[in-house]
Amino acid sequence: MSRVRSWMRHDSMSVVFAILALLLLAFILAPVVKTVFSSSPGTLWGTLRDESVYSSVLLTVLAGLLATLIGIVVGVPLAYLLARRQFRGKRFLEALIDVPIVIPHSAAGIALLFVFGRQFLLGKLFGHVGITFVDTLAGVVIAMMFVSVPFLIDSSKDAFKAVDVRMEKVARTLGASPWQTFFRVSLPLAWRGIFSGSVMMWARAMSEFGAVLILAYYVPFLGDRATVAPILVADRFTAFGLDHALPVASLVILISLVIFVALRYIALRGDKQ
């Protein structure tokens, strides 16, 4: 008790900062908690059994996962190059990678449409192998990937930077080729940062609204047409009002939180070793 009092008397800054921090936490927590608990478990279960909600959730999780997996395959090598190599225009490239974070996502959707639309360059190219993007699952995936891959690249780059470059040098002198060095030393030592970047990317991808709305609003999925969960929530709100949007919103938040917390737990568990 006396410790607390002397601490408060001597350090007004800590008190002010703590109050501001609590206000902010309340601001974040209150809407989330209230929404999640506004619907009874029975209502949530009923909502999930609604065919359009179920396929929407599945589409969102699946497309987010696909976007993240593609992001890992192409993003991790880029992150490694940015962490290890010096080259002209590197700063510019690093700024460029973060562009999707700073532009409005509906504008990002327009930009994607402009390149991946059927009559445009990449759209035509992929069209030859039977992949189209406008109002298809592939469109949902690239829209999600475009806006969320910077999180993966930035986090992976920091993770590779944190690996002592001499670890790689030692591995090379011990007879390991550059490939072996990457897979036996750099990647295992950076995996936690890459993993948490992937979780961030997946979470960000699943919550994407604007870019998906423009490029692939409703797409053929499971023999019917479905849209991603964030759009479904908005559609229900504008068409039927709060009462119909709320259970879907609760469900989506709950699913996101469960996945997020579970994956964070996996990533942090290794930290204690």
Partner: protein, 347 residues
Amino acid sequence: MIKVSNLAVRVGGFSLREVSLDIDSGEYFIILGPTGAGKTVLLEAIAGLHSVVKGTVSVDGRDITHLQPERRGLGIVYQDHVLFPHLSVWENVAFGLKSMRCPKRDIWPRVEKIAQLMNIDHLLQRKPPSLSGGERQRVSLARALVTEPKLLLLDEPLSALDPEAREKMQHELAEIHRRLNVTIIHVTHDFEEALSLGERVAVLNKGQVVQVGTPEDIMRRPNSEFVAGFALSRNLFQGNAAGAEDGSLVDIGGVRIKAETTLRGTVHASIRPEDIFISREPVRSTAGDSLQAVITGIVDKGSVAYVAVNVPPEFTCLVSRQSLRELDLNIGIEVYITIRASAVHVF
């Protein structure tokens, strides 16, 4: 034989210029220089870890300047060990054998053998973060030696160790060199380390080799003020250590001074100039006796002065300007110097 000719390397803003060295097979070669001289860059360039701007590196007549590091058959050990933290000690040591695609049945016995040699066989299941500094250094050496490299590169291998572990590791390095008959290039900023381990020493400054020779050459015949500053800033003597009633006595060219050491036989001893106490009258103390000497030179450095005295041998002492005046020290006068046994570094 390792031959480095006119090697030039640029790393960031630093460059290594026109470095040439000839190192014999089986030699214990030291690269000595201050921080920032380019010692590590030179070592890593020999390992193939930096691209070469100019010049060549060859081993036994074969040009390896552009050979990938994994094909050079050498091992490197860094000051702070750089063990793979995600692998056990066993996996660290076995890393090179696996990279070389050594048959599985051979890996175990080879790891076992080197682990016994380096005295780490009881640590094989541990992870590097749980080891002490000395243990990590031995694992790091075992990892480099298990592939039986022709050349072992050591980057300040003793600097991160506490004095006790350092002395032990210094003996172990000499022992490894003797038993495995491996060529060693050892980088250090410590002159005493160079003296006690090196068969030959190259002094490096600002990316250039300024002198190559035996430790005695460097110590007695420095070819520049820079090398002299590096070598002669201390009172360095070769001598003979013997036990005495209370500690040890080191005979350095006629006079015997007290020291705290367990070493016996031929040794080196060094005394920092500021640890030698000058007085006009003899001082009697249990820590060390006074020696009579004559002042042969005084170099005034402003607030301090270096005073050379001859017992013989000659010692350099550092005194404050105030002492210089109060004691009225001049060339030719007789003084007494006192050296505490704990100030004598024997190696």
